[in-house]
Symmetry: C2
Subunit: 243 residues, 2 copies
């Protein structure tokens, strides 16, 4: 679905997305070729193997990037929140499924046009490189979780990554005081993200609740009364990259 354009100057992700470093000239070009698209909750943005005709930035909502094996096993490899970039300049096909888990608004560019901008604007190219390097760091950090952490550590680290992500989106300090989180994902999606089953994930939420490390007023809401204490559950928590 097409939406009315919002001026880049009024865009909520103007200073965090791939356009963050764009100068006035870059922005004029981007503005002329962008279009807003909305994808309803549950909708597909691209399927694994599909052509990447467009690249886009997430403006609002939440999407997931995952792969499903033939026998149904599924692993999420990325959580896409506002300002995250979707698509791969220079590659025609996605090797992962990208799906909206809430209603999503995308700021979209045709791939060839965007690639041209990357070639002509060092600001955009540099920003894209920085974002890609950040993503790489996040992916590698997550590999440590998937390869070596216990179920309890995974859930704790997931919650902490949301705490950090929310803080950074709002440009706030990370406080140790109570933090209220809205979970963008169902238990099943969280399990896919953490390389666990839904049952194990649910049991870990329950265990953390019993021990007072979190409160869960509703299934999609989590209160972390003491962030520092939850951090103690994750060995190695270096305050790693913001996933």
């Amino acid at each position: 679905m097409r939406l009315a354009k919002v001026a880049c100057a009024d865009c909520p992700i103007r200073h965090r997305a791939v356009c963050a470093e764009a100068d006035a000239d870059d922005l004029a070009v981007l503005e002329s070729i962008k279009s807003y698209v909305s994808v309803p909750k549950g909708g597909s943005i691209v399927a694994a193997g599909d052509a990447f005709d467009h690249v886009s930035s997430v403006v609002a909502g939440c999407a997931t990037m995952s792969r499903t094996l033939e026998d149904g096993r599924r692993q999420m490899v990325g959580l896409l929140l506002p300002s995250d970039f979707i698509g791969r300049p220079g590659r025609a096909r996605s090797s992962f499924d990208i799906e909206a888990v809430s209603d999503v608004t995308l700021c979209r560019f045709e791939r060839p046009a965007f690639e041209k901008i990357v070639r002509s604007s060092p600001n955009v190219a540099q920003r894209l490189l920085t974002m890609t390097l950040d993503e790489l760091e996040i992916a590698r950090d997550w590999s440590v979780l998937l390869g070596r952490m216990t179920a309890r550590e995974r859930v704790a680290k997931f919650l902490l990554s949301l705490v950090r992500r929310e803080a950074s989106a709002e440009g706030q300090e990370i406080t140790d005081g109570p933090v209220v989180l809205h979970l963008p994902l169902s238990r099943e999606a969280i399990a896919d993200y953490l390389g666990l089953t839904i049952e194990t994930t649910s049991r870990q939420f329950s265990a953390l609740r019993r021990e007072g490390l979190i409160e869960t007023p509703s299934a999609r809401q989590v209160v972390v009364p003491d962030v520092a204490q939850l951090t103690l559950e994750v060995l190695d928590d270096d305050g790693g990259p913001i996933a």
Copy 2:
């Protein structure tokens, strides 16, 4: 240890490394600031938390990128072979340990000087972006292995990734006929790469050997008589990115 410089024109990784797309001018600058460094087997290239004073390309040998948790659990997040890039322009510190697992030769640049080239040469910047995007794809692909695959599938996929990597380094087709592999890693390092224990890894090698899917003339050598058959052991093997 410093080594004599080799002219870029004679460099074995000239057309695969970060300098692959460099034009004559770029190359002249790179040549003037590069130096060769050799790191002995077992030596550290950078430790997690250390400053990245240099960035480099692996010219020869094999290195690993990994993180060790406080209690000794260890996860490898990348295998670095000739032409791979080490370091992160724009970031001062490494969050992983990088270690030589064989004698390694690096083509090294001081980070600020290299960053300057990235800013001034679109060819180098573009190549770096492409390489980083490839790394990201590999890291995400590996996440699927770490999160969802069985021990047997992990070992099979590891062997297949080496088959592909060797073929691509030599610009050959991937044949289905017998392939002889030299394992660059010890069983322990393989286990760390695959998110398994050394015992489980060893048992899977033995099981594949019993079933005739591989032969192991020595611990560091593996013969794959039929690549296609080994591929059948890995559900989803899309011929994924070359790790």
